[in-house]
């Protein structure tokens, strides 16, 4: 099959988009300011079936109003949003203390987890898991809290150390954490060291132990044979100085943002790929459906994952640029959309991981979560098939312990409708009219400079991808050994 349709969509909408946020003492502006509001694009396809309580809940329970965290839509897990950043007034003393402690070195991915834990994405988790938490996570995908209630926790959030570090820690109760660049990052208190059963962790998290799982190869295999759990304190907010920190709103900041906008529903969309018009279709359709249900001001949290991703995924900076073009091109409505970065690393652990993705968004204040086909999935590392049954993600998510208060919005598969010449929900009665454009196919288009079918992605967003892949090719060409270029 040859596809030579040129991308002819022009940008119908122009807007001055400033995808940033200015944080000053708990007051911050929206993540972008719109000058021109583009018309929303709606489609009439049936989209969602809401699994749990699908009545609009205008106000949450009394318990959810915390001192500085208004939680008008959904209570954080455990009732209180965890915040482990040491107050300014105590920073100097804690830094001095940390300096005296045995040190544990963090990798870049460990630091991403420190970021995640310290801002409360994993509430009520207050540090790297001790063995009790690790075992509950591994076996039950949930934690029992002190009051007997259950919160979801499907991924073990753990810190590995090697034999030498364990030896050095000796009988110390607390340790200092040192970032990859040598900076003191924080303290882990009342530590517990226990065995890192790598094979079992991998099997129970991914449902396979075959070689080639990105997180396993990058993180688990090279890690030490021990895990160290404890209560975390972070000396400073984790920043990356990559020009994207303004996108990294904490759960507390997101909650304030939703309150400021007087959102009466927040629907989160997790992604690690460029946004195509199929994604946009379902996000816009979700909004429409929420309005039909009686919500007055549903807000979309477009929430790309910002931590570790596998080598062939599109890098974060390129994705953020692509997302900003999608808003500029008017495919999504900036007035009702917040773009922010979710700082977690990616596991590619399918049904196990999608629970984490949803749970973290509860803590960020989202009360609706959109889930599609094969969330957090990938190809099997050694066999020619999907690693997970593509329907298991949404099924597991809809039954997961601790997620009962979240409205799960499963959606049907979107594909390119060659008749309508746009992305549409797949209609099995005329299957031959639909073209499935996989991530691999999309990358092949972009790499070859060939345009995807008209209507697959907005022109501005597509251009960003093409430029990225061309720069990759240029880089690859420059790295060819001289003998081959002769």
């Amino acid at each position: 099959m040859s596809l030579t349709i040129k991308l002819q969509l022009s940008s119908h909408y122009r807007l001055n988009l400033n995808l940033g946020t200015c944080l000053k003492e708990n007051n911050f502006t929206p993540a972008y300011n719109t000058k021109i509001r583009p018309k929303p694009i709606y489609h009439s396809d049936p989209l969602i079936s809401i699994v749990y309580n699908n009545k609009p809940t205008m106000h949450a329970s009394k318990r959810c109003v915390q001192s500085s965290i208004k939680s008008s839509l959904i209570e954080p897990d455990g009732g209180v949003l965890v915040d482990l950043v040491v107050p300014e007034s105590e920073r100097a003393a804690r830094t001095l203390e940390a300096e005296t402690l045995p040190k544990v070195g963090l990798t870049e991915i460990d630091l991403e987890w420190v970021h995640v834990i310290s801002e409360g994405w994993a509430s009520p988790l207050k540090g790297f898991m001790r063995e009790d938490e690790y075992l509950q996570s591994l076996h039950f995908n949930s934690l029992r809290t002190k009051d007997g209630s259950v919160v979801n926790m499907s991924l073990p959030i753990v810190l590995a150390i090697d034999d030498e570090t364990k030896e050095r820690i000796g009988s110390s109760t607390n340790v200092g954490l040192v970032g990859p660049n040598g900076d003191l990052v924080g303290i882990l208190r009342s530590i517990e060291i226990y065995k890192h059963h790598k094979e079992e962790r991998t099997a129970r998290t991914w449902g396979t132990t075959e070689p080639g799982l990105p997180y396993v190869e990058e993180v688990i295999t090279p890690a030490g044979n021990w895990l160290i759990g404890g209560d975390l304190e972070v000396l400073n907010h984790i920043k990356y100085d990559d020009g994207l920190d303004h996108y990294r709103l904490s759960p507390q900041q997101l909650r304030s943002e939703f309150d400021m906008r007087q959102a009466d529903a927040v629907f989160a969309f997790q992604l690690r790929n460029p946004v195509h018009n199929g994604h946009a279709l379902l996000m816009n359709d979700t909004r429409k459906r929420l309005l039909e249900m009686g919500y007055k001001n549903p807000i979309l949290l477009l929430h790309p994952l910002g931590g570790f991703t596998k080598a062939d995924d599109v890098p974060l900076d390129v994705r953020m640029e692509q997302h900003s073009k999608v808003l500029e091109d008017g495919v999504l409505d900036p007035e009702t959309t917040i773009v922010s970065i979710f700082p977690s690393p990616m596991h590619y652990a399918g049904p196990t991981e999608v629970q984490w993705h949803a749970k973290a968004r509860i803590n960020a204040g989202a009360n609706f979560y959109i889930v599609g086909r094969d969330p957090a999935g990938m190809g099997h590392p050694t066999e020619k098939r999907d690693l997970y049954d593509p329907d298991h993600g949404k099924k597991v998510l809809s039954m997961a312990p601790g997620l009962e208060k979240l409205n799960i919005l499963p959606f049907r598969v979107a594909a390119y409708d060659t008749v309508q010449k746009k992305m549409a929900f797949f209609d099995p009665s005329r299957a031959k009219d639909f073209l499935f454009i996989s991530g691999t196919k999309m990358r092949t288009y972009a790499r070859s400079g060939e345009n995807p079918p008209d209507g697959f992605m907005c022109p501005g967003g597509w251009k960003v991808l093409v430029q990225y892949y061309q720069s990759l090719q240029a880089e690859e060409a420059s790295q060819q050994p001289a003998v081959l270029s002769a």
Copy 2:
């Protein structure tokens, strides 16, 4: 180290033991009748720490009293003990119906599961799992019931079929189940057929996918690529005609037995090995502890597993004979002990399986469960180590969802104390005095005809084992090719 100590313990107690039960229209006698009551043997070692509510509960909640099932100690999971055996009056009609349906053939192990489900050991499960139940079991080790409560369910209880059987079933809603000997066993109604993801099932259940897991090799690998779930009806009580059926008390029969004995506590001991004096020590000590806690009549449910076990485990009939000798020899008190067979097959899935073992005993009316080192564990199939961390079983069990109402009794390791010349709780302060006699070592003794250290096992019980291993050797010798015997 050479061990030549002869077994010199004589049988101090004699009793006429009839390990049987006579079932007549819901009235049945105890599983054995004692003529002489042996003195209980108590030890003073500290034994148990009770994790959950450790106050004597003399009466359970009001909800637990079912029509014919008095549940004075602990309510079955889901509130009602499942009983899927077709009433006598309907048997003929259902048999006729089953004959008209597409047939699914059962293996011997499938039939063991039919037995388990039909008698309510897996209450509230009413048949082989449909996909929703399978996924909850695999990911959460628990099932959410219709009323929103959670019951434990750590092992997928599933029935596999191959492509050809799936084809033959077609669009039929119900199927007939046919036992390995060709007999009609029952009906599975409102069926659902879904994919059998064998690798994922294995990884999530065992925490490894290495070759050599007995249940995987025996059951999963040869099984079909589909699972069939549905509501089970069984035409007749499952019987084995192996001379041991009188030991196979159903949960309902066990509950009646406990009521008849006016037990105010029932503590279950799961085992798949011969009973040595270390086991006896902790069972007797548990009883002592329960008496100290204020219980007046604690009953021990000595509950050997009767389904599939791996090839080098001691077969059920030999174990039952050994257990009966242990009672005859007075190592356990027959007046306060019920010996019965737990019909489940063995998974050797450590922390995942121990939950099943405990949960099934809730349904049988036990409100205390004894758990030791590395329950349901085995050696790693390809590495020289235990497959599971030996402490994980009791940790996972004590935190498992749906088991909150069960009192978990962890015990310390028992070993042979060479100073006291008896099995005793291991004292790390004089570690060198203790001898660990593993199952492998025990088998080596029995196989070679050598006696284990004095006090390791009662003489009657030991004799049963020696005879078994000698018969095995005789059998092996008779199978040697003639050239080798020359």
